[in-house]
Symmetry: C2
Subunit: 381 residues, 2 copies
């Protein structure tokens, strides 16, 4: 078959089966995103082996995640995020410390130091895309609870960056403090710069935007900003989606006037399924079957859920029991971030195949756990 | 740099420079699409060598072309296309015969039989994407002239399929008539089936579509149809964009009710620049510099323009001089189809490097010639 045929077959299979299982999930009162992830598990190497993660599908998935977080950003005002800033910081910090400590202590009982640190670090990860999608699908992005999750997710990416840098340096035996300091300052500086000055800069270029000949010019410029900030994020060492979220944030004020949401939404709807279906396909159940580690895996999965519930729940308890519980569950999914951390560990020979299985399984379980539980908690009482 | 960074850098460069040069072109009263193609020439291996045609960028370009033709299809009703059917057939057939004969005869003077047939065949190609974009940007898709071009382009793809099959078989020395017959019947049958039965089938599934739980379900289904028919087209041997156009045609009746155009348009706006910028990047000016063939190249370029003007113009003369001229110019660009034919010829060792340059140059010249001239002809007198 030609390249064109292969590509179209993959696109067709991913999109149509993702949407089919999403419809099935909706009918079973389950979140649509769960259906898309399960479609990926089904089509991927775990079962039918009809699609394979490759340059093209990974690229589409990345664009999908970028547009998901961009649309979420468009619905969030920076000042609303700052209002919950204190809570978000607490949620992010406790959401890093509690999982790390619980994971590390449990592993240390029967494993070496480096492996224990690694599993602890992998438990720190948060995949905000999954939760953002559930929040958006349930129309609750405007609540304080959702804002705390989004704010904490941005901070979490910065903290995760530091944790991953430390863990990566474990294999070489020494931590490069200066470099680590620079990366941290860059990430925090970039985030604050865009969050504070972004909206002001957009207001400044407004007259120019409206003089452009290009049709729909404001939207075109917002896409350029979105791609540009995603790229900048990656250069700094953060996830591309953080840049996309910040770009949405910077343009949020003009979202209605320039019809940005109406334009970004269909692109998000078309591209995002590729992210979730591929996420399912990356979860190779065949590599997880390590009979020797069943107990370890079960405990790590449990700790991964409980530690985020405790850490993030405690951090946001001032909002009340129910929002705190929703925030805790919302921070549980490790998704693609957990899978990436596992792959890094295996690549650096920091962990054994068995521990790799444990981390991958932890990512899978937390990813499948969060959407249905969060949806249940979001239902009006 | 990471894969993610490389991908985002390419996306950012392609989209932002394409849109920048499109704006410049608009200000110079030139079509936007010309700016996007020139951005590709500038970024590609001809000049800056910042982007390279690869699996990912080719994939995005293909999706861009698919959504372009899908949106064009959504604005075209099948019965309107049938009304101009006779004229479209005449335009397509004469638009194949005249370029082939002129190209063949001229080349035969100083070249071998196989090479002459090949150049003639390459002159038959039509890249409907370029013209469709100019027509859409100028808001004239609803005119008879535009419908003749679209109808002729679909037929042209079928005729081109036959011509390319014959040419490809030249290298093996024998034409497989039976296979050729099957391919032709399949292509014509598929096109007629979708054009006639498509809208009826869509009307039938309408109650089901409206009962689905998935939000925006009609649009989601139309995207699945678009990807599915594009895939089917490729299986049959036709271009994916023909399937996408037919999918749009089948859904056109419900385009307003289901807000299909409003949803497909932003995706088209985001993805299509990748098609045109990549088209520019594929036009490698460095490989065209063959000093020995300057005269041949110049004559072939001239014949490529004149032959379509004569063939397609004559075919549509009953619509009047001006529409006939517009149709003639609209059928001139060879674009990516010409480049593909040239690559096939080189791959099969049917043509020399020098003749390859001539065909590539012919594609470039016709691609850059058509948009400004067509725009000039579309301006109200």
């Amino acid at each position: 078959m030609t390249d064109s045929g292969k590509l179209l077959l993959e696109l067709f299979l991913m999109f149509s089966s993702g949407k089919l299982l999403a419809e099935v999930c909706e009918r079973l009162r389950q979140p649509a995103v769960l259906g898309e992830i399960l479609a990926g598990v089904l089509l991927g190497p775990s079962a039918l082996a009809l699609i394979h993660p490759n340059v093209m599908t990974r690229g589409l998935a990345e664009i999908g995640a970028i547009f998901l977080l961009f649309t979420v950003g468009l619905e969030t005002r920076p000042h609303e995020l700052l209002e919950v800033g204190g809570t978000a910081v607490l949620v992010a910090v406790l959401g890093v410390i509690v999982p790390f400590v619980l994971g590390f202590v449990y592993m240390k009982i029967s494993h070496g130091l480096v492996e224990s640190i690694f599993v602890g670090a992998a438990m720190v990860a948060t995949s905000v895309g999954i939760t953002a999608r559930v929040l958006a699908d349930n129309g609750v992005l405007a609540t304080r609870m959702a804002r705390v999750i989004l704010g904490a997710a941005v901070l979490d990416d910065i903290l995760g960056l530091i944790v991953l840098a430390v863990v990566s340096s474990l294999s070489t035996g020494q931590v490069v403090y200066l470099q680590l300091g620079i990366v941290t300052v860059e990430a925090i500086g970039f985030t604050l710069l865009i969050a504070f000055l972004g909206p002001r800069m957009v207001r400044k270029v407004r007259p120019t935007v409206e003089r452009l000949r290009t049709r729909n010019s404001a939207f075109i410029l917002s896409v350029i900003l979105c791609l540009g900030l995603s790229l900048a994020s990656v250069y700094i060492g953060m996830a591309a989606i953080i840049g996309a979220f910040l770009a949405g944030l910077a343009m949020a004020e003009h979202s209605e006037e320039w019809r940005l949401r109406e334009n970004a939404h269909p692109i998000m709807e078309f591209m995002t399924p590729f992210f979730f279906v591929l996420l399912g396909a990356e979860m190779n159940l065949r590599t997880v079957a390590h009979p020797g580690v069943v107990l370890t895996a079960a405990v790590v999965c449990l700790l991964a859920i409980v530690s985020k519930l405790i850490g993030c729940g405690l951090g946001s308890l001032r909002l009340g029991w129910k929002p705190a519980l929703q925030i805790g569950v919302g921070m549980v999914p490790r998704g693609e971030v957990g899978l990436i951390v596992a792959a890094v560990g295996l690549g650096l020979h920091t962990i054994s195949d068995a521990i790799y299985s444990v981390v991958v399984l932890m990512s899978i379980v937390t990813t499948l756990f969060a959407p249905p539980v969060l949806r249940l908690l979001l239902r009006r009482p």
